[in-house]
Symmetry: C2
Subunit: 512 residues, 2 copies
């Protein structure tokens, strides 16, 4: 049997025991990650039913082990030890984060966890059927159940100001709905007029040449080159495979796998999925090895994880500098398709702004408006101002208001995301937090490397990669997202850098 990898405290047997118990919980989590990865990438169809049983058992075992009374007793016993240590020490952070997560986990009775899990499984199935039928009415009864159980979870976890605070806290520890509303208001004020100004210029950016046949194998080879170039390791400590929905999964710190999906008639889909997932993968592979089996061995929050994926996908991958260095590689794979293209035409094409119905295809200017629609609808439901039965109609109205367009059916409207099939409330905010944080972090890196643009333009990503590793990844999950941003950038989450970036970039592209 091996020892827990996390920071050792041979002097305190209670702390050592806590690490030991947590390392099992983390191992169970890694096992669950492999079960999920295999299910999405490899598993023969026949294995589906058993896999459901295997995953349910792993969740049950994880909850059982993590909520064991022994962990509770150890946390009590370790109070004075924790107080004797610096707040930012590995030991104090381990105890603090375990205490926080333990408090949440033990509040939820196993019966409620099981009920929520059942609602999610059923919700997913019904959502698929509703998509087939392109009819929100099919989905509505399942969503009502999910909303009810989610509300019950929020009440059980408890909150001071708003029930959604309890849910948001699961993704972004310490953040509140009020913080999100302030952030969103600032973004909305700037982005809605910007999107309108761009629309007023007409469709002046040509991206049609990205949409023609591109060989599948070559797209994958290109994606693999790109993820390696920016610093993700897909060979020794990771893999890149194909799945229906691209994602990143941490089986262990030395086994962080990403997936992509290929559209044979559009070269952008797989390419940016690769960069996005590699950004997550770099964060996972970049966490300090000592946290391998520790509760701290994770990103600081869903939003900060997203900051890393959006950094490499957008801030780097959709930058002019990037295409100066990367254009020859793209051209080498697709000389015919790109015969008339230039680095500048690629740069413009991958930044074409157009109000669209589908979130995952949205450009950087309108993306956050998609998130706001969802967040505001969720909050209206929680506040009793909107009923689930009226959600589709409200969705379409909000779209019209923020993006000037409305879906023609529920499939391109309220049924587009998987998220509400499994839970409801504060799922989407992490995406916008990630967008905003990506620039806040990038600008901090530029302070140390004022020639960052030139570096990227010559294909040198080591400075940015290394800065993120040394300044962000090093903290792993020791602090809340706001604490982490304060430590790394001197400020909590701040919209100004992001809005400055968006305005500069698109004013230039659209000649505003």
């Amino acid at each position: 049997m091996s020892k827990p990898d996390a920071t050792q405290a041979p002097g305190n047997p209670q702390y050592a025991r806590l690490l030991e118990l947590i390392s099992e919980v983390r191992d169970i989590q890694g096992i669950g990650a492999l079960l999920f990865w295999d299910q999405q990438v490899i598993m023969p169809r026949g294995g589906a039913a058993s896999r459901g049983n295997h995953l349910a058992l792993v969740n049950k075992l994880r909850h059982e082990r993590f909520t064991s009374p022994e962990i509770g007793r150890l946390l009590e016993g370790l109070r004075s030890y924790e107080e004797s240590l610096p707040y930012d020490s590995d030991e104090a952070s381990t105890i603090r984060v375990t205490r926080r997560e333990y408090a949440k986990a033990t509040k939820l009775p196993p019966e409620l966890v099981v009920r929520a899990s059942r609602a999610a499984t059923e919700g997913y199935t019904v959502w698929l059927a509703a998509r087939e039928a392109r009819d929100y009415g099919v989905f509505r009864p399942a969503l009502e159940k999910t909303v009810a159980v989610t509300r019950e979870i929020a009440e059980t976890l408890g909150y001071e100001d708003h029930p959604m605070d309890a849910l948001l806290d699961q993704h972004e520890p310490g953040m509140k709905v009020a913080d999100v509303e302030t952030l969103f208001a600032e973004l909305r004020t700037a982005l809605v007029p910007l999107a309108k100004a761009i629309a007023a210029k007409g469709d002046i950016v040509d991206s049609a040449f990205l949409q023609q046949p591109f060989d599948r194998a070559k797209q994958l080879a290109l994606g693999l080159e790109a993820v390696k170039a920016i610093g993700y390791d897909p060979e020794i400590r990771g893999r890149m495979d194909i799945s229906v929905h691209p994602y990143t999964i941490d089986i262990a710190l030395d086994d962080v796998r990403i997936t992509t999906r290929v559209n044979e008639n559009y070269v952008g889909q797989s390419f940016f999925a690769c960069l996005h997932e590699a950004g997550h993968g770099i964060y996972g592979q970049g966490l300090p090895g000592k946290f391998g089996r520790s509760i701290l061995g994770d990103g600081a929050s869903a939003g900060l994880h997203e900051s890393q994926s959006r950094l490499w996908e957008n801030v780097v991958g959709r930058s002019r500098a990037f295409w100066q260095s990367f254009f020859p590689r793209l051209e080498a794979h697709f000389p015919t398709q790109l015969a008339a293209a230039t680095p500048e035409s690629i740069y413009r094409a991958v930044n074409r702004v157009r109000p669209s119905l589908i979130r995952v295809e949205a450009d950087e200017v309108t993306y956050n408006l998609h998130i706001m629609v969802r967040f505001e609808l969720e909050k209206a439901v929680f506040d009793g101002k909107l009923e689930v039965k009226d959600l589709a109609e409200a969705w379409n109205a909000k779209f019209k208001e923020y993006l000037g367009i409305a879906p023609s059916d529920d499939l391109t409207g309220i049924l587009q995301d998987i998220h509400w099939s499994m839970s409801f409330g504060a799922n989407f905010t992490s995406y916008t937090i990630g967008n905003v944080a990506s620039i806040q972090l990038y600008e901090e890196a530029v302070k140390q490397y004022p020639d960052m643009t030139e570096r990227i333009a010559r294909g040198d990503f080591a400075a940015l990669f290394g800065w993120m590793k040394d300044n962000l990844h090093v903290h792993a999950a020791k602090f809340t997202p706001q604490e982490t941003l304060e430590r790394v950038t001197g400020k909590p989450l701040t919209a100004a850098p992001y809005l400055g970036y968006i305005k500069r970039k698109f004013t230039d592209i659209y000649g505003l």
Copy 2:
């Protein structure tokens, strides 16, 4: 949460509870199988250390859950229920087999399980180093530890006649060392003179044309065709992949995966590995679905599992009839290499007999002699007649005695098999039991289908596949191997059919 799949007994709540507890143990086993499969086939190298932790945890969880006092109490409480049921009912069999396995598992203290597991991990590492050095002396100290811990396990499990009975029982429930010795004596008496008679005829079978360059991808395509043809499903309920050592792994009854390995200069290696593993896979896929999460959801023993792999690899795959139907498929992939070949020349080539040093490359006549060498050395060690330090020398002497040749170094001698790096005692006997049982079962199938040879000659494997499913697989792990053979063939394990088959086949090929 889903219900256990095994036979339901709504009338008896203790039985229902037993099924529920066992279904979790089986799920943990399936999860461990996936961890192992991924480790061998897919895992990036960096994941090795974590995977060790994950596998150790799964073994610990399985042991914890299976040896829980609640299972003991249920088994006690179910005695009169069991006695009220027919012996061969699913319910009585479930209780009986659980009782048997529970008794063994609870005898072993977790500390001993952990120590054996450590010895195996260490032994495997040292074995690899010894292979590098081609020196048994490097391996010896580790093997001494393994022998000591294996002996301790045997003493802890207990036995009536011979300590190796306790170990053999783990692979072949109910069989004893004395049974194996009787079987081996009968085989030895017939096979040693036969091998000598064949050797006296000279090297009259040409197999050189099988050893030339064969494209890797085409070999895999051919293997896939073959495994599908005989009835293994590599698409919906299984997969076929590549690994260093070919094997079959049951993640669930509907997710049974096989692997092969390719030698680009010999077409036989991958082809027969495919047939062999597909034989195991067909058994796994052929078990009744109702046993999916039951303790009965397995083959009757390691030896009966081997009977199915050897059936398809040898009895079918090395038969004249098989090559009458399969030759055109082989030729279609490799027209150049097989320009001068005929079904008959392939048949003869894949049956060339030659005393050889490596077990896994041995022909049907000499294969069992390899097994006897190992079994007799193991027994001599257990009987105190041979010391571990003298094993390599004894190995070479036994080879000279049975096969007329001796290894030139330890790599082609005592260091060739992985088995002794992880355990010692009665590991190998199941291979010979499988060979013998394969013919006993085949001949029983022929009684129902007297035209079996003609069927195979026209590529119709459905009769043989279906007969095995209906007559052998249907019993799953309800009975001991001897009970199973009695039920299926009317006799316990009997050498005569196998010896008759070997004599007929090779008398013909070698014109004896």
